[in-house]
C-alpha cells in the first residue's frame, strides 16, 4: 500500500523556470497560432500541471522550452531558466550552449515510449551516450551508472536490460527506461509530456508513483503535461489550464478544482467521468423504462439487488457460453511447437434486451477479440454464441448474414473505421443495401439524413467525406452506420478512447440517449473504468482472456472482490485533489504477462498481492460470491 504525494513545497522556493509572453505560430497558407501570450513559472521542486485537450498548445509549449520546435515555427517571448544563480534566456540561446542545459539541467520525457527510444540501439548505448556527453564518464562508468538508475526506476535485472533493444520490452518498461534516461544527470527540471497516456492504467499508477518518489528524492521540479484531470489532481501542486493556445486559468490545484473560476475549466471538470460517481445507466433510467416512472423504479431496484443474471421476463438477447478464441502465432523457430495465443479463454455471459454490459480490462485481456467473436468476424472460435435464441456458429453463412442486422458495431478509431473514399451518406447507407435492398436511392438517402440529424450531424453532411470531419463527428457517423438497420444490440469497442474528454462526454451522452430511445442493448468495451461505470448496468472485468469479476457497476466499484478489480479501481485517479491526496492504494507490481505464455493456475497470480500456493496450482472458477461473480480463491471481503 502506498500513500499519495506529500503536500506541496513552500511558496518561497525560488523560481526555476519562467515563461513570459510565449507565442508560437506557423506560417502556411493560413497562419496557425499554436500558443499565444502564455506566461507561467515553475518553482524549484514543485509540480506544475499543464492541462488541455488536443490542440491546446501544451506540447508546443514544452517543445519551445526545450528548443525542439521545427524550423518552420515562429517563436516570440522569453523563457528564462536559472542555471545556478544566473538566469539564462533559452529561446535565443545558440544550439551549442543549449546542449549544455538540455538533458542535463532540463530533461524531457515523451508520450509514446514505443517510438521515443531508438529501436536500433541497445538501451545501454542510448543511456551511456548521455552520460558520456554531459558527465564525461568513461563507457564503463556510464554503463554502471545507467544500471543504477534503472534500479531506481525499478526495472528488474537492470544489468541485463542494458544489452537489450527497446522492442524486447513492454510499454511500461520502456517508459521506465525513458524516465531513467531523463534523470541520468539529475536535472533540476523534468518536463513530462503525457508520460502515461499510452500505458495501461495499473502501469500508469506505477509510473506516476515512481516519478513522484524520484522527484522527492532528487528535489527536482516537474512540468507535467496531461489531458487527464485525475492525474493533475493526484500529482500536481499548481495547475494551468490551456485551450486553443491560451491560458484559461491557473492556480493551486486544490483551489482550481474546488472553485474553478473559468467556464472552460468548469466544463472540463464536469465532462470528466468520475469513478466515484454513481452509474447513470442504473441511477437515471433502467431497462426499457420509458416515461412510466413506477415501473422503471421497481425494475431498477430489482436490478441493483439481483444483478448477475437480471430477472428476465423474456429470453436473453445474447447468450455467450464458454467462448474460447485461440490464435496460432506460428513457430518461434523451426521444429519448435506452434505457439498458441489464447486470446479469450472460456467466457460466458448473458445480455438482456436493452441492457448495457461494460467490459473492462487492460491491453491483451481479450476484450476486443471477444467483441469480434460475438460479431462473427473471426474465422473460428470454440463455444456458443446465440443471438435471439439461434446459435450463430451452427447457421449457414446466409443465416448469419441475416442475423447481422440485429447486431452492429462501433469501433475505436473514428477515422479508420470509415472508408476514406466513400461519402458519409454511402457509408451510413451501406448496411441498408444489404438488409433493405428494396429501398430506392432516394429513400435510402432520406433514412440516412434522418439518422444523421438524430446523431447530431446535419443532413447535408451526407455528401461529404470522412476526412472533412473531426474525431467526435466521425464517431457519430460510425454510430449512425451502426443504427441504420435498427439493430437490437450494438457492440462498442472502445468508442470514446480516441476522443478528447469533452467530446467523449458528448458521445457517451448520445449513446445513452439513443439506447433509451431505441431500447438498444449495448456491450461497451473500454479500458477506462470510470466511463464504463457511468454507462453500464453490469460490468465484466477481464484479465488475460478470462473473466475475473462480473457484477453490477456500482457494486463493482464500491465493493470490489477480486484483487485485480481492486487494483484497477485504485489505479484510476479521481479528479479531486482532496480525495486523491488521502487515498490508500493497492499498487500492482510488474507488467501484464504475455498472453502467449500465461501463468499457471490463476492468471493474475504474478501480480497479485494476495497470491498463495493454491493460486499457482489451481485455476479459480467464476463463482457467485455475494452480489457478484468472482474468479478468485481468496476474494477481498466486502
Amino acid at each position: 500500500m502506498q500513500t499519495a504525494r506529500q503536500p506541496s513545497p513552500q511558496a518561497s522556493d525560488p523560481t526555476l523556470l519562467s515563461v513570459t509572453d510565449l507565442s508560437i505560430s506557423y506560417r502556411g497558407e493560413q497562419t496557425v497560432q499554436a500558443v499565444r501570450d502564455l506566461s507561467f513559472y515553475v518553482r524549484a521542486g514543485e509540480t506544475l500541471g499543464l492541462v488541455g485537450e488536443s490542440g491546446s498548445g501544451k506540447t508546443q509549449t514544452a517543445l519551445a522550452i526545450m528548443g525542439l520546435l521545427p524550423e518552420t515555427a515562429r517563436v516570440s517571448g522569453r523563457v528564462t531558466f536559472m542555471v545556478g544563480q544566473q538566469a539564462s534566456e533559452l529561446l535565443s540561446m545558440p544550439q551549442q550552449q543549449l546542449n549544455t542545459i538540455r538533458g542535463r539541467a532540463i530533461s524531457m520525457i515523451f508520450q509514446d515510449p514505443m517510438t521515443a527510444l531508438n529501436p536500433h540501439l541497445t538501451i545501454g548505448r542510448q543511456m551511456a551516450r548521455v552520460l558520456e556527453r554531459h558527465r564525461r564518464l568513461s563507457r564503463q562508468a556510464a554503463y554502471a551508472e545507467a544500471a543504477q538508475m534503472l534500479d531506481a526506476v525499478r526495472v528488474p535485472e537492470a544489468r541485463a536490460r542494458l544489452k537489450q533493444y527497446p522492442h524486447e520490452m513492454s510499454g511500461g518498461m520502456r517508459q521506465r527506461i525513458m524516465i531513467a534516461t531523463a534523470l541520468l544527470c539529475r536535472p533540476e527540471l523534468l518536463i513530462a509530456d503525457e508520460p502515461t497516456t499510452a500505458l495501461d492504467v495499473t502501469v500508469q499508477a506505477q509510473i506516476l508513483n515512481i516519478m513522484a518518489e524520484l522527484q522527492r528524492e532528487m528535489g527536482m521540479a516537474l512540468l507535467l503535461i496531461t489531458h487527464d484531470m485525475g492525474v493533475v489532481a493526484a500529482n500536481c501542486d499548481r495547475v494551468l489550464v490551456m485551450r486553443d493556445g491560451v491560458e484559461r486559468e491557473s492556480g493551486e490545484v486544490t483551489q482550481v478544482f474546488s472553485a474553478p473560476a473559468d467556464q472552460y475549466t468548469r466544463d472540463l471538470l464536469a465532462a470528466v467521468p468520475r469513478l466515484d460517481a454513481k452509474s447513470r445507466a442504473v441511477a437515471g433510467d433502467a431497462l426499457g423504462g420509458e416515461d412510466d416512472c413506477n415501473e422503471g423504479e421497481s425494475e431498477r431496484s430489482d436490478r441493483t439487488r439481483n444483478t448477475i443474471r437480471p430477472r428476465q421476463p423474456t429470453r436473453p438477447l445474447l447468450t455467450v457460453d464458454d467462448l474460447r478464441v485461440t490464435f496460432d502465432v506460428g513457430r518461434e523457430r523451426w521444429f519448435s511447437p506452434r505457439r498458441l495465443l489464447k486470446a479469450v479463454d472460456g467466457v460466458s455471459f448473458e445480455l438482456a434486451p436493452g441492457e448495457t454490459l461494460g467490459v473492462v480490462g487492460e491491453s491483451g485481456c481479450g476484450k476486443s477479440t471477444l467483441a469480434r467473436a460475438v460479431l462473427q468476424l473471426l474465422d473460428g472460435y470454440a463455444g456458443r454464441v446465440s443471438l435471439l435464441g439461434d446459435e450463430l456458429g451452427h447457421l449457414s453463412a446466409a443465416a448469419v448474414k441475416a442475423h447481422r442486422q440485429h447486431m452492429q458495431v462501433v469501433f475505436q478509431d473514428p477515422l479508420a473505421s470509415l472508408n476514406p473514399r466513400m461519402t458519409v451518406g454511402d457509408i451510413v447507407a451501406e448496411p441498408l443495401q444489404t438488409f433493405s435492398p428494396q429501398l430506392s436511392r432516394t429513400e435510402r438517402l432520406q433514412q440516412v439524413q434522418q439518422l444523421l440529424a438524430k446523431v447530431g450531424l446535419k443532413p447535408e453532411h451526407a455528401f461529404r467525406y470522412p476526412h472533412e470531419f473531426s474525431g467526435g463527428q466521425c464517431q457519430r457517423i460510425g454510430i449512425a452506420r451502426a443504427l441504420i438497420c435498427e439493430p437490437q444490440l450494438v457492440i462498442c469497442d472502445e468508442p470514446v478512447s480516441a476522443l478528447d474528454v469533452s467530446v467523449q462526454a458528448q458521445v457517451i451522452e448520445l449513446l445513452m440517449g439513443l439506447q433509451k430511445e431505441l431500447g438498444l442493448a449495448l456491450i461497451f468495451i473500454a479500458h477506462d473504468l470510470a466511463v464504463v461505470r457511468q454507462i453500464s448496468h453490469r460490468v465484466m472485468v477481464m484479465y488475460l482472456g478470462r473473466v475475473v469479476e462480473l457484477t453490477d457497476s456500482d457494486t463493482l466499484v464500491e465493493s470490489p472482490q477480486h484483487p485485480y478489480t481492486r487494483a484497477l479501481i485504485d489505479a484510476v485517479p479521481i479528479p479531486d485533489p482532496a480525495i486523491e491526496r488521502n487515498r490508500e492504494r493497492l499498487l500492482l507490481r510488474g507488467d501484464i504477462p504475455s498472453p502467449l505464455n500465461p501463468p499457471s493456475g490463476c492468471v493474475f497470480r504474478t501480480r497479485c498481492p494476495l497470491a498463495q500456493q493454491r493460486c499457482t496450482d489451481e485455476q479459480p472458477q467464476l463463482l457467485p460470491s455475494g452480489n457478484a461473480h468472482v474468479a478468485c480463491h481468496f476474494p477481498v471481503s466486502s
Binding site: M66, L68, Q95, Q96, L98, N99, T100, I101, R102, G103, R104, S107, M108, F110, D112, T115, A116, L117, N118, P119, H120, L121, R129, V130, R133, H134, Y165, H167, M178, T181, R333, W334
Partner: protein
C-alpha cells in the same frame, strides 16, 4: 543469428534451382543448335558433334550431367571459343568485371549516401532542390546513353581521358563513372528520403532533448536506421551494376564477363551464356544472403 543465417542460406537454393532449370530448358527448347548457323554439315559429323557434347542424351540426363559438372565448377567447353572451357573464360573475364563493378558500387554508395544526407539535412533549400534535380536526371539517363555522351565529351572533344581499353587507371574513369552514375542517383534519393524520415522520428527528438550535438545525433542515432533502405537496395543495385556492365564493357571495349555474355548471346554460344547466367545468379544469391545478414544487424527487430 546462426540459425537465421542458415535458414536464409537455404532459402536461396530454390531460386538457384529455378534459375538453372529455366535457363537450361530455354537452351534446349530453343530453335537452332550451335552448329546450324554455319553451312550444311554432313549428318555423320553432326551426329559425332552431338555425341561429343552429349546432345543426343535425353534432356533430364543432360541436365543431371550439367548439374554434376557445375558442382565441380565445370561449366563445360565453350561452343564458340573452341579452345577454352567456359570456366576459363569466366576466370579470365570476371576479375576485370569485378574491378569495374566493385569500383562503381563503391563510388555509388559513398557518393550517393553523402549527397543524400547533405540534401536531407538541408531539406527544401536550394542545394537540396538542385542536387535532387540532378539525381532525377541521373536516374533518367540510362547508362548506355550516358556512356557514349561522356565519351563524346571527354574523350572525343576534350581528349582528357581515353575512350576505352584497359591498362592505366585513367581508362577506368569513364566506364566506372558511367556505370555508377545512375546508381549514385538512386542511392542519393533513397538516402535523402529515409534520412528525412528518420530525422523526423520521435527518437531523434529524444536525442535532441538529451542535449546531444547534431553530428553525434546523425552519426550515432540516425545513420544506422537511415541505412536500412540502402541495404535493402544493395541487391537490386548489384543486379543493376552487373546488367549495366554488360553494355558498358561493350561500349568501352573492356574485356570483361559482360562482353563474353553479349558475344555469346549473339553467337548462340549456349554453354557460355548459361555459364555466365548461372555464375551471376549464384553471385546475386550469395550477395542477397550477405545483405540479409547486414539487414538483420542494422535493424534488430527484423525476424525471418
Amino acid at each position: 543469428m546462426l540459425s537465421f543465417a542458415f535458414r536464409r542460406f537455404l532459402s536461396g537454393i530454390p531460386t538457384l534451382l529455378v534459375l538453372l532449370a529455366l535457363s537450361f530448358a530455354l537452351i534446349r527448347v530453343a530453335p537452332g543448335g550451335p552448329f546450324d548457323t554455319e553451312k550444311q554439315v554432313p549428318p555423320e559429323i553432326q551426329e559425332r558433334l552431338n555425341a561429343a557434347y552429349h546432345l543426343d542424351e535425353p534432356l533430364w540426363m543432360q541436365f543431371g550431367r550439367y548439374l554434376g559438372n557445375l558442382m565441380r565448377g565445370d561449366f563445360g567447353p565453350s561452343f564458340q571459343y573452341k579452345d577454352y572451357t567456359v570456366t576459363e573464360l569466366i576466370g579470365a573475364g570476371f576479375p576485370v568485371s569485378l574491378q569495374l563493378g566493385g569500383l562503381a558500387m563503391l563510388l555509388a554508395l559513398l557518393a550517393g549516401i553523402s549527397i543524400g544526407t547533405t540534401a536531407a539535412l538541408k531539406q527544401n533549400s536550394r542545394t537540396d532542390h538542385v542536387v535532387m534535380g540532378m539525381a532525377m536526371t541521373g536516374i533518367s539517363i540510362p547508362n548506355f546513353v550516358l556512356a557514349p555522351l561522356l565519351v563524346l565529351l571527354f574523350a572525343v572533344t576534350l581528349r582528357w581521358l581515353p575512350a576505352g581499353g584497359l591498362g592505366e587507371w585513367r581508362s577506368l574513369v569513364l566506364p566506372v563513372i558511367s556505370l555508377a552514375l545512375p546508381q549514385i542517383a538512386y542511392v542519393a534519393r533513397l538516402t535523402r528520403g529515409s534520412m528525412i524520415e528518420v530525422l523526423r522520428s520521435d527518437f531523434i527528438r529524444t536525442a535532441r532533448a538529451q542535449g546531444l550535438p547534431t553530428l553525434e545525433i546523425i552519426v550515432g542515432h540516425a545513420l544506422k536506421p537511415a541505412l536500412v533502405p540502402i541495404v535493402s537496395y544493395l541487391g537490386p543495385a548489384t543486379a543493376g551494376i552487373i546488367t549495366g556492365s554488360v553494355v558498358i564493357e561493350q561500349i568501352f571495349g573492356v574485356p570483361g564477363l559482360g562482353r563474353f555474355f553479349v558475344q555469346g548471346a549473339l553467337n548462340r554460344d549456349y554453354t557460355l551464356v548459361m555459364g555466365v547466367v548461372v555464375f551471376y545468379g549464384v553471385l546475386i544469391i550469395v550477395f542477397n544472403f550477405l545483405v540479409d545478414l547486414a539487414y538483420r544487424w542494422l535493424d534488430p527487430r527484423v525476424q525471418l
